[in-house]
């Protein structure tokens, strides 16, 4: 029996993975999307909080034509316990939040600086990765880059990424609310607490040119659906139900995978989006009889962030390291119409995203275990409790609440668990297990995980398949 073979195998089915799949398929490669972690449940796509899609990806993949429609929010609202909410409106880019006049006057400088540094870092990365690998390539690209951006600026940019977000924000804002307002959107994409070195990167993501959040409000398809459709139209095979059990290597180069049925499949390159350091965000969808009011005078299309202060946020991320569900989760939420009930009685839907939850929970003896349904319910109850501190009558309006952890978190099948853990360990390991195995992560500089996946896919096309831009 001939061994089946593809140009690229993708082992996860989230939006970044499908972005890469679409890029590869559009470039004429044969692509298959299987899964190590398990398929993302279709119901999770219902969330209004879709991943950000940078304009460049939108254009490259022609997502408009494929039916993607996202609505930019009218306001970002930062809710605080026992204090007035802080709002930024869309009119007037990143309009000033309602903080002290002094901090409000610094705001434009802050956004300008962060964008400039982001652009410099992108230039730095692109110069290194785009213009060729190898020592000579590196030298040429760096000298090109130096001609383009002044060296002192590059040093500032390089060092910026090493700072903590609190450190950077303290340089700009004198009031606590000013710092909190600026930090809230960044915390939603953060991988560590605001005091941790390196988290200033999150600010670049949150205030980049493409960073204003957009929601899926009504009947339209989700980002994942549109990306899958685009990839399939270009010839990709998408079947996340096919379990991948292990990777195969030959001479330190990845050769393919073995499926759960023991079938061997070959590929020239293998790509996967593995959760970093044992954590992943969790989506939650709450069906409601009517909208709850979280902040007086906030526009109906708003995204809300709950941040109880830097110390609490730091603790939340610490909890994750310990395999505990954070006591005060860092979360964002937005309300939208329910797609399924459209036409009938219009139910409302509240989409919540909890940043940083552990993939494996740990009990007192530090034994790790996957999430169970009960854990999900407990988290849901905790979130509802949190929400009702802003909108006391929310409890009466809730019809049902569903929690969607990362598929790897829910995995209880022993073989899948093992494969998923193996891959996560590889992703966290310092030594690459072999060439041509790519992890979609790092460098969330331009437009979040989807943007990063697009950059990675284009890089792989260039370096491995010697193909120019699609």
């Amino acid at each position: 029996m001939p061994v089946q073979s593809y140009d690229v195998l993708i082992l996860s089915d989230d939006a970044p993975s499908l972005t890469a799949a679409a890029y590869f398929a559009k470039a004429g490669l044969s692509v298959a999307v299987y899964s190590v972690f398990g398929a993302t449940p279709a119901a999770a796509d219902e969330t209004a909080l879709q991943p950000a899609v940078p304009a460049v990806v939108w254009r490259h993949l022609n997502l408009q034509a494929a039916g993607l429609a996202l609505t930019p929010v009218d306001a970002r609202v930062v809710l605080q316990p026992e204090a007035a909410p802080l709002m930024f409106f869309r009119t007037g880019q990143h309009g000033l939040p309602s903080v002290s006049p002094e901090d409000a006057s610094v705001w434009p400088d802050f956004v300008r600086d962060v964008r400039r540094i982001g652009a410099d870092l992108i230039a730095m990365r692109d110069a290194e990765t785009v213009k060729g690998s190898g020592r000579r390539g590196m030298e040429t690209s760096l000298s090109v880059l130096e001609a383009e951006a002044p060296p002192a600026r590059l040093l500032t940019a390089g060092r910026f990424g090493l700072k903590s977000s609190v450190e950077v924000l303290s340089d700009y804002f004198s009031s606590r609310e000013g710092r909190l307002a600026a930090a809230a959107p960044a915390l939603l994409e953060a991988i560590a607490g605001p005091y941790a070195a390196g988290t200033a990167f999150g600010l670049l993501g949150a205030y980049g040119a493409d960073a204003w959040p957009a929601l899926r409000l009504g009947d339209g398809p989700s980002v994942r659906e549109v990306l899958a459709r685009t990839a399939v139209a270009a010839g990709a095979v998408i079947d996340p139900e096919i379990l991948v059990k292990e990777l195969t290597f030959k001479d330190k180069r990845v050769r393919g995978v073995v499926t759960g049925q023991g079938e061997e499949i070959r590929a020239k390159a293998v790509v996967v989006n593995a959760p970093e350091a044992g954590r992943a965000p969790i989506d939650m969808i709450i069906e409601m009889s009517e909208d709850a009011v979280f902040a007086e005078a906030s526009p109906s299309t708003s995204i809300y962030y709950t941040v109880d202060g830097f110390g609490r946020a730091e603790q939340a991320f610490d909890d994750v390291v310990y395999g505990r569900v954070p006591k005060t989760p860092v979360a964002a939420f937005a309300s939208s119409a329910n797609r399924q009930s459209a036409g009938a009685r219009q139910n409302r839907m509240l989409s919540v995203r909890v940043q940083a939850c552990p993939l494996r929970l740990k009990d007192k003896n530090s034994a790790a275990r996957p999430w169970t349904k009960e854990d999900g319910e407990a988290l849901a109850a905790q979130i509802v409790d949190k929400l009702s501190s802003y909108a006391p009558d929310i409890g009466d309006k809730i019809l049902k609440a569903d929690v969607y952890p990362h598929p790897a978190a829910m995995q209880s099948d022993a073989m899948r668990l093992q494969a998923a853990d193996m891959l996560r360990n590889l992703a966290d390991s310092l030594d690459p297990p072999g060439e041509r195995l790519f992890f979609l992560r790092d460098a969330r500089l331009d437009g979040g995980p989807v943007g990063a996946a697009a950059v990675a896919a284009r890089r792989i096309l260039r370096t491995v398949f010697k193909k120019g831009d699609a």
């Binding site: 880059l145 390089g158 060092r159 090493l162 450190e167 310990y322 530090s366 310092l430």
Partner: protein, 534 residues
């Protein structure tokens, strides 16, 4: 010396090529290197003694201890050779100190002082990890050794500020695979680097402590791992990544440096404090002294901390806003604390021979243990179980205690800079001492009863004793940031003719002398280019 000072009050002195401010290890190194290059050099020091924090100090009746750093592991090898430090009296009482990662339940994990041979001492105790460690050290130890020069220099090219250029330079030093490895090692957390590599929790915990030591990064924080490479970059007495104990404590090392400086004809003036650095046409022109005098010279090297050097001795007016903010950056809320204890008898560590007391001990049985300690300290609490490194200097150097007493010298890291309830320093010291003794009691039963006298040294104490800013004893920013920042601080481009070798220029901390040698090298290069230009 003081009579001479009296005589010089209010005088303006010329005829010197260079003034060095601060006779720390770095200052002494800089002065000696310059003098050996034919510079007529004067070294001024505010205190009565040279050496700064590298001092051996009596702390209890009949007991002395190295006041700050207690082991040498990053002493700059080029400096040792260049000024022939052994000829000037540097001797080690122990050169290949083994590292012992203690466990309160099981056998300890022992690493040979020569890490390349640790496989034998690790033995079957840790199963496959002995081989895994050998492989790990082969990769990262080698990479670290290749980078040892770069770790002294700071991550910039001497002729330009560009980060890009610096990276390219670095790339020339290491192989292509090494460079790829380094880029990942730069951003990795300690946990991510160690967890997949080893099975033994004790080995991982000990290595994680060594990686975290002195830094603000908890084991799961990004950018933490590179610090371990810095620790593995040094050598002592010819053995790569080894620890050594100077005979007579750290003060003896300072004495050897002083003798080297004197034999190179450096004019050393103690009890002479600098008031400001003189500028003329934006270039350094000498130093004004507290006693009203001036020493004129075209080269000035400061071994004091960056804040004192740039904001006090030069003044903010000569610096741009960004530089000021960078220099006055608020320090981490974590600190290093030191505990000194005089004991009636050596601690009884079960499962270890008396010979093993000659080791460097680390109490950090797992990565989670360290993570928990960081978590407490971060929120202003003293961890109930401290992570610490200790040695028993009297075991290999009897001159440090009289009457059969025993001295224990311990670094506690992390410790909170302030308590969450804003209690005073005495309360913090009390609690740290209490927890340090309790922690040691768990590993050496009967320890508490053997303690005769004990003290805790905090950054404030060092600041008061050695006239530097307390913030330099706060936990440090990620090594990568120190690396980049040092390059900026070290070079004389803020003020022409001024070079910097203060504590911030010592990447990763410790007793090095490399920053001083480097500053002197830059000054010599500048002088040469100027003379050829004229």
């Amino acid at each position: 010396m003081s009579a001479e000072n009296e005589h010089q009050r209010g005088r303006i002195e010329g005829g010197f090529d260079a003034v060095i401010i601060g006779a720390t290890v770095e200052g002494l190194a800089a002065a000696t290197c310059l003098a050996k290059n034919g510079f007529k050099t004067v070294l001024i020091e505010a205190a009565a003694d040279v050496g700064g924090p590298a001092a051996t100090r009596g702390f209890a009746e009949g007991c002395k201890v190295s006041d700050e750093a207690h082991l040498v592991n990053a002493l700059d090898r080029d400096l040792v050779r260049e000024i022939d430090l052994y000829r000037h009296g540097l001797t080690y009482s122990e050169r290949r100190i083994q590292t012992v990662y203690l466990s309160d339940r099981d056998e300890p994990v022992v690493l040979d002082g020569d890490l390349a041979r640790a496989r034998e001492t690790l033995g079957p105790r840790v199963g496959d990890d002995a081989a895994a460690f050998e492989a790990f050290f082969k990769i990262y130890g080698d990479l670290a050794e290749t980078l040892s020069g770069a770790f002294v220099k700071g991550l910039t090219a001497a002729d330009g500020t560009a980060l890009a250029k610096a990276l390219t330079r670095l790339q020339k030093d290491v192989s292509e695979e090494g460079y790829a490895l380094l880029k990942r090692a730069c951003v990795a957390s300690t946990r991510a680097a160690l967890d997949p590599a080893f099975d033994s929790a004790l080995l991982k915990g000990g290595l994680a402590f060594d990686a975290a030591f002195g830094g603000a990064a908890a084991p799961s924080a990004q950018y933490g791992f590179l610090n371990l490479l810095r620790r593995w970059a040094g050598e002592s007495a010819g053995i790569h990544a080894a620890y050594a104990h100077p005979k007579g404590g750290m003060g003896a090392l300072a004495d050897a440096l002083r003798r080297a400086a004197q034999s190179a004809k450096v004019d050393i003036r103690t009890n002479t404090a600098a008031k400001s650095i003189l500028l003329e046409w934006d270039a350094a022109a000498g130093v004004a002294l507290e006693n009203g005098g001036q020493i004129r010279a075209e080269t000035v090297i400061s071994a004091l901390d960056a804040e004192t050097t740039y904001l006090k001795l030069i003044g903010p007016a000569a610096l741009d806003m960004e530089a000021q903010a960078d220099i006055a950056r608020s320090p981490s809320n974590l600190i290093l604390a030191k505990a000194h204890m005089a004991l009636a008898k050596p601690p009884a560590l079960p499962k270890l021979s008396a010979e093993a007391l000659r080791g460097r001990f680390v109490i950090c049985p797992s990565i989670d243990y360290l993570e928990e300690a960081f978590r407490y300290a971060k929120f202003g609490r003293v961890p109930p179980k401290l992570a610490m490194e200790f040695i028993i200097p009297t075991v290999h150097d009897e001159t440090l205690a009289e009457g059969g007493k025993c001295v224990l010298s311990a670094w506690i890291h992390p410790a909170p800079a302030r308590l969450h309830n804003d209690a005073d320093t005495a309360a913090l010291k009390g609690e740290l001492l209490d927890k340090a003794i309790a922690t040691l009691e768990a590993y050496a039963p009967g320890f508490r009863k053997s303690v005769l006298e004990a003290e805790i040294r905090l950054p404030e104490d060092y600041a008061a004793a050695y006239g530097m800013n307390a913030s330099i004893w706060a936990a440090r920013a990620p090594l990568l940031d120190q690396w980049l920042r040092t390059g900026v601080l070290q070079r004389g481009d803020r003020v022409d003719g001024l070079f910097f070798c203060g504590p911030e220029a010592v990447i990763g901390g410790g007793v090095s002398g490399g920053a001083g040698r480097r500053a002197a090298g830059l000054a010599v290069r500048r002088a040469k280019s100027r003379s050829s230009f004229l």
